[in-house]
C-alpha cells in the first residue's frame, strides 16, 4: 500500500526504461543545466527542451495522466515561491520565466523517477565514487522507508484506539509520543541490523 505511494517507478518494458541509469541521469542533468543557464527570455530553447521531454515521455509509455498528476501536485510550491518574484521591477517576466523553467525541470525529474529504479541510481552513484557511507545510508533509508512509514501508521492507530480524548493538545502529544517510540524502535532495529551484517562477515 504505502510502498506504492513511495515508489514512483513502474516497471514497463519501454526503450526508456531499458536505458542504463547513468545515461538517463546525464540526460536530465544536461536538460536541467540548459534550462537553468540560458537567459531568462530564451523562449526557443525552452520550447526545444519541452519538445524533447514530450518525445521521451511518449517513448517511455508512462501514462500521461500519471505524469500530469505528479506535475500538478508539485506546482503549488513552485507558484508560491515564484509569486515572491512578482514584487520587483518587470516581475511579471521573471515570474513567467521561473514558472516555465521549473515546470520543465520538474517534468524531467518526474520522468526520471518514473522510469528508473532508485537502486539503479544508487549503483550509478557508487560507480561515480560517491563516499560509501553516504551510498550505504541512502540504500538503508530506501530499504526501510516503507517499513517505518507502516510502523508509524500502526503506532498511530494503536494510540488512537486507546484514547478517548480529543483536541489539539492531545494530538500534539500523541504524535510526539509516536515519533519517540518510532525512534527508539528504529534505534534498536539498527543494532540488530549491525548484528546481521556482522553475522555475514561485514568488517568495519
Amino acid at each position: 500500500m504505502s510502498s506504492r505511494l513511495l515508489n514512483p517507478y513502474e516497471h514497463r518494458g519501454s526503450a526508456i526504461h531499458r536505458l542504463p541509469a547513468p545515461a538517463k541521469m546525464a540526460f536530465v542533468g544536461v536538460m536541467v543545466c540548459t534550462v537553468v543557464l540560458v537567459p531568462l527570455g530564451a523562449g526557443m530553447i525552452y520550447a526545444g527542451c519541452a519538445a524533447a521531454l514530450v518525445v521521451v515521455a511518449a517513448l517511455s509509455s508512462v501514462p500521461a495522466r500519471h505524469l500530469a498528476w505528479r506535475l500538478l501536485m508539485l506546482e503549488p510550491f513552485v507558484l508560491g515561491v515564484a509569486a515572491l518574484s512578482l514584487l520587483q521591477p518587470e516581475g511579471g517576466r521573471v515570474f513567467a520565466a521561473m514558472l516555465v523553467r521549473s515546470t520543465l525541470c520538474l517534468f524531467a525529474m518526474v520522468l526520471l523517477a518514473s522510469t528508473t529504479r532508485f537502486t539503479d541510481l544508487l549503483a550509478a552513484l557508487w560507480r561515480l565514487r560517491v563516499p560509501a557511507l553516504l551510498v550505504t545510508s541512502l540504500a538503508l533509508m530506501y530499504r526501510y522507508l516503507s517499513l517505518l512509514v507502516d510502523e508509524t501508521g500502526r503506532l498511530q492507530r494503536a494510540r488512537r484506539s486507546r484514547t478517548f480524548e480529543e483536541g489539539r493538545a492531545f494530538a500534539w502529544r500523541s504524535s510526539a509520543t509516536v515519533a519517540a517510540h518510532l525512534f527508539v524502535r528504529t534505534s534498536e532495529r539498527a543494532e540488530r541490523i549491525y548484528d546481521a551484517m556482522c553475522a555475514r562477515g561485514w568488517r568495519t
Binding site: V81, L87, E90, V94, A113, L134, L140, V178, A179
Partner: protein, 326 residues
Amino acid sequence: MHIPDGFLDGKTAVAAGALAAAGLGIALWRLRRTFPPRRVPLIGLAAAFVFAAQMLNFPVAGGTSGHLIGAVLTAVLLGPSAAVVVLSSVLILQCFLFADGGLSALGANVFNMALVAPMVGFGVYAFVRRVAGGGLRARLLATGFGAWCSTVAASVACAGELAASGTVLWRVAFPAMAAVHMVIGVGEAAITTLVVAAVAGVRPELVLEAPLAARAPRYASVAAYGLLVALGLVLFVVPVASGWPDGLERVAATLGFEAKAAAPVASAPLAGYVVPGLGRAVPSMMLAGALGAVVAFALAWLLAWVLTSRRPAGGRTRALETTVAA
C-alpha cells in the same frame, strides 16, 4: 523550504553546491573517524525515520497542520555530523524520487537544511545547555530554542540565495522568509521539544548522555563547519543585504529584459516598490528579529518548564505518556 529548479542562477547554484559538498564531506570524514561502528546503520535508518516522522500531523487550525523538519531533532539524538548526513540523504531522496526540490538547487537545499539548520541549531543547543546546566529542563530549553534558530537561519540562507540569483529582491525575500519562518520555527521548536521529551521519557540515556559521537568535537571540525556557514552567509546574504540594491536591479534588468530604455534602472523601479524610509528598514528588521528571538526563547523556556514540572522527585518524567503503544 525546498527550492525548485529554475529559481537559482548558475553561479549561486554552483557556489551553494560547492559549500554543500564540502560540508557533507567534512561530516562523512568525521563520522568515519568517530562514530561507533555499531551505530553506523542508524544513520541510514534515521533518515528513514525523519522521513516517516515528517508525515506526522501536528494540527494547527482548521485543516492545516504543522510538520516536523527534523534538523535539530536529529542533531540532538545523533550528533551534528550524523545529522548532516541524515538530512542530506532525506533531501537527495526527495529530489530524485519526488522532485521535491530541484536538481540544480540540491546544493542550495542541502546547504540550507542539512548544513545551516543542524549546525546553527546544534550550536545554539550546545551553548544554551552549557549555560543553563545539564538537566532535562535545560536540555529541552536548549532544544526548543535551537530548533527555532535553525529554522530561521535556514530561511535566511534560502532568502539570500534567491536574492543573489536575482529571482526575488532581497528586501522582499528576507522579510517574507524570515517572518514566516519565525512563526514556523515556533512550531518546529514545540514539536522537536515534545519529541525529545518523549524520548527522554522512554529512554533517558538517549537524551541525557552526550550525543552518540564517541569523542567530543575537536576544535578543528567545529571551526570548519563554522567557516562553511560563515562563507555561505558572506556569499549569499551580506552582499544582497548590505545595500547593493542598485547593482542587483541592474543585473536583474539585463538578464531578461532586452529593449529596456537606458534610463537609470536604480531609481525608477525602486520608487514604486521601496519601503518608505528604506534607510531605517534594516535596523528595524534587525530589531524585529531580535524581538522574535527573545519571544522564541521565552516560549521554549515555558515549554521546557511545563514538560518537566510534573516530574515526581527522582523519577522518570510522566508529563507525557510513556506506555508503549502496540
